[in-house]
């Protein structure tokens, strides 16, 4: 089990190797990447920032919960911080398990919990030069740049 906040690019293949043990029959990887648009607006990159001490501790709790709930010690998560260009990975979750269903369920649990409770924020940079903090609790994020939500 491992959960880390990282500044350098995430090496998904390394995460796969980290969990890919001989007892396993199934390995899953989920990678969240920077998409080229959001709500129809062209995105050029995303800046991730965190309450690092708390984000790190919440990530570790989530990994521990996943491990217990789904029955595998082989859960590894990395979340990247800083400025990410298009296509770069912001988060990667690797799980291995003797059976495929719990491997997949654990992966989904981890990403859903991250989205709910890990104190990480992102600011999207748009093609028109503006940028905005993303607020998933608002349906539309098309306010003007810098505006507080």
């Amino acid at each position: 089990m491992r959960a880390s906040l990282v500044e350098l690019p995430i090496d998904s293949a390394a995460l796969l190797r980290e969990v890919g043990v001989h007892e396993s029959g199934a390995v899953t990887l989920f990678v969240g990447t920077v998409r080229n648009s959001n709500d129809g607006r062209p995105v050029t990159g995303i800046e991730y920032t965190a309450y690092a001490a708390m984000a790190s501790s919440e990530l570790k709790k989530i990994v521990g919960e996943a491990s217990q709930q789904f029955g595998t010690d082989h859960v590894v998560v990395e979340h990247r911080l800083g400025y990410l260009a298009l296509g770069e990975a912001s988060v990667a979750i690797a799980v291995s398990h003797a059976r495929r269903a719990p491997a997949m369920d654990a992966s989904r649990f981890v990403i859903e919990e991250i989205k709910k409770r890990v104190p990480i924020w992102k600011r999207e940079h748009y093609a028109d030069g503006t940028r905005e903090w993303v607020d998933p609790t608002r349906k539309y994020t098309s306010m003007s740049a810098g505006e507080v939500r």
Binding site: T49, H79, I120, W133
Partner: protein, 79 residues
């Protein structure tokens, strides 16, 4: 007592700082930090965000102790 308050992302931008020192009565609770920040500093911090005390999510009625770090948590957007 002296309490360190952390702000992040849009809240830090609204307040113009990512940390504040607040002087609060020794009976203060987590919710009081929010009330004071909104009263003294900025109404741009919304009335009911998530709060944390010493890097753990905290209820508004939790007591604060000298030296605690209280954070006002904007809607998270990790992943």
């Amino acid at each position: 007592m002296n309490v360190r308050v952390l702000l992040f992302a849009s809240y830090a931008e609204a307040v113009g700082s990512d940390s504040l020192q607040l002087e609060l009565p020794s009976t203060a609770r987590v919710g009081d930090v929010l009330t004071e920040v909104r009263r003294r500093i900025s109404r741009d911090v919304p009335p009911s965000p998530m709060m944390a005390r010493n890097a753990e999510y905290a209820e508004l009625d939790e007591l604060i102790h000298e030296g605690d770090e209280v954070a006002i948590i904007p809607p998270v957007a990790g992943g």
